[in-house]
């Protein structure tokens, strides 16, 4: 890097900088993952065991229409 390049760069050291990402975040334009709506995306939800210490006794895949299919775990206490 030449001396001229250095001189052309804004001096950031000791300067108050505003964040580049803030305007989007402040106007609702920023997109978080939950804001992305991908056409045809599958949705999932995790059903956690209601038992703190249990063995999985079986896992059954229930058939049905794609949008209503779910895996079901049976817990044994």
């Amino acid at each position: 890097m030449s001396a001229t390049d250095l001189a052309a760069r804004p001096n950031v050291v000791g300067t108050r900088m505003l964040r580049k990402e803030d305007p989007e975040l402040l106007t609702g334009e920023a997109r978080f993952v939950a804001d992305l709506m991908v056409p045809g995306a599958c949705h999932m939800a995790v059903l956690r065991s209601p038992y703190a210490h249990a063995r999985i006794a079986s896992v059954r895949l229930l058939s049905g229409p794609v949008h209503a299919r779910r895996d079901r775990c049976l817990y044994r206490c």
Binding site: L18, D22, L25, L26, T27, G28, F32, D35
Partner: protein, 159 residues
């Protein structure tokens, strides 16, 4: 059922299921995803919008309860020419945000708070934002920003 409301100045009419919550109406039906869902249990305030000018948690209202109302979301706060609202500008200048997830709700709650308390002091801001949680900033710069916005607005910066 039919629901009709003005959101950021535009009139919307939709058929909705009665159980549809206002926040999901705004995000998924109207398509304004600036309003975030945080805790989903009316604690965190990320979903705060203005209903007829007052802050409410849109996750704890049915869309049907807003029938006939005027809703303002974070998308409707800046001027059409892109000039930020004094609260948005103060948040930017005071570094009152980091990840930005709580920011839309925090800004809307602040706008409502300033409207209700033209003479804000620090204690009132801290108490007035008790319904909004931020996990990045430690609140300090948020409080600074709201105080700065309030004084800018009372000095005549257009809201």
């Amino acid at each position: 059922m039919q629901v009709r409301m003005r959101v950021n100045g535009t009139e919307y009419v939709h058929e909705v299921e009665p159980r549809l919550l206002l926040v999901y109406y705004l995000r998924e039906v109207v398509g304004l995803t600036g309003t975030n869902v945080g805790c989903d249990t009316s604690s965190c305030g990320a979903c705060t919008v203005l209903l007829d000018g007052e802050s409410v948690k849109s996750c704890t209202m049915l869309a049907l309860q807003a029938d006939g109302a005027e809703i303002t979301t974070i998308e409707g706060l800046a001027s059409p020419d892109g000039t930020l609202h004094p609260v948005q500008e103060a948040f930017r200048q005071n570094h009152a945000l980091q990840c930005g997830y709580c920011t839309p709700g925090m800004v809307m709650a602040a706008v409502s708070l300033i409207r209700e308390h033209p003479d804000l002091d620090e204690a009132t801001v801290r108490e007035g934002l008790e319904g909004n949680l931020c996990r990045c900033t430690g609140y300090h710069n948020i409080v600074k920003a709201v105080l700065a916005a309030a004084s800018a607005m009372s000095a005549g910066v257009p809201a």
